[in-house]
Amino acid sequence: VAYDPGVTAERTSSGRAPVRPAAPPGGASLRDRALYLVGVFGLSASLTALWLGMRTVMNVGGYCASGGPYEIAVPCPEGVEAVLFLSIPAGLVFAGLVGWSGSRIGRGWARLLLLAWPAMFLSLGWNFLEYAVRPPDGSGDLVLGWLVPGIVFVAMGGVPLLFWLGQVRAGTWSGSPSDPRATVGSRVTGSGEPVVWRLGPIEVTAEQPQARTVVWHLETDAQGPSGATGQAAAPGAALADQLERLAGLHASGALSASEYEAAKAAVIASAARGGAGRP
């Protein structure tokens, strides 16, 4: 069983389902793309501010304080607290903006947000490692208290990054904003026919009469707007029909509750992307 990225090139399905109208090309609006760019800009700036603020505090020994009734041994450098305390919520807000607008552009672009995790942990881990090897007091001794968190941070950022790179290399990551395969299921092919699609925990095939419309949606989605030809169907009616069939499968016991929810979500997402649910 293997993922077939060349789904558009070859069709092995015996029962060719009717093709619905082409999805609207482009998809995302200019506003979504502008917001995405703003989010990426702000998130990068926030992460950099956090990185800079951390270095500033480490320059005075790793901790500092200001205000309050107590005598302060190490006063904070001017403004660094504001930078540290603002960069985190600001980063979260911008990350939300990237995720939200990215999901409107295409699932692959929203998932690009995951890179913020390794970016943060690797950059902060670098600070720990650099100051562990080259402490600001100039002693030249290895600072174990900074070496350990440095290694932990690099591992926390590096391991997910390696997984991400592996996904990109395997081609299972789609960064294309208009690639429908990024949003619904994955197509698994056995030693030939029938075509099998994996939707989260379940597998569906056109051989199952009740699942035929689901597979039809998946196949036409995978085919993309360029290959969509043929008779037009009412998208809203098709969606309602699919949901009814899924509900029937669930009621008959063929689908468990979780399988039903997964398939329903996939069908709705598919229809929304294809224009059926789009306002």
Partner: protein, 36 residues
């Protein structure tokens, strides 16, 4: 299929530029405030 691919490439370049601009902006804006 060539045109969408080219458009995606241009879009990716814009995203990378936005990320680089964010880093550059923070370094510039906070350069006087905090010491790298």
């Amino acid at each position: 299929m060539t045109a969408p691919r080219a458009r995606d490439g241009g879009w990716l370049l814009l995203v990378l530029l936005a990320a680089a601009a964010g880093v550059g902006f923070a370094l510039w804006a906070l350069g006087g405030l905090v010491t790298p």
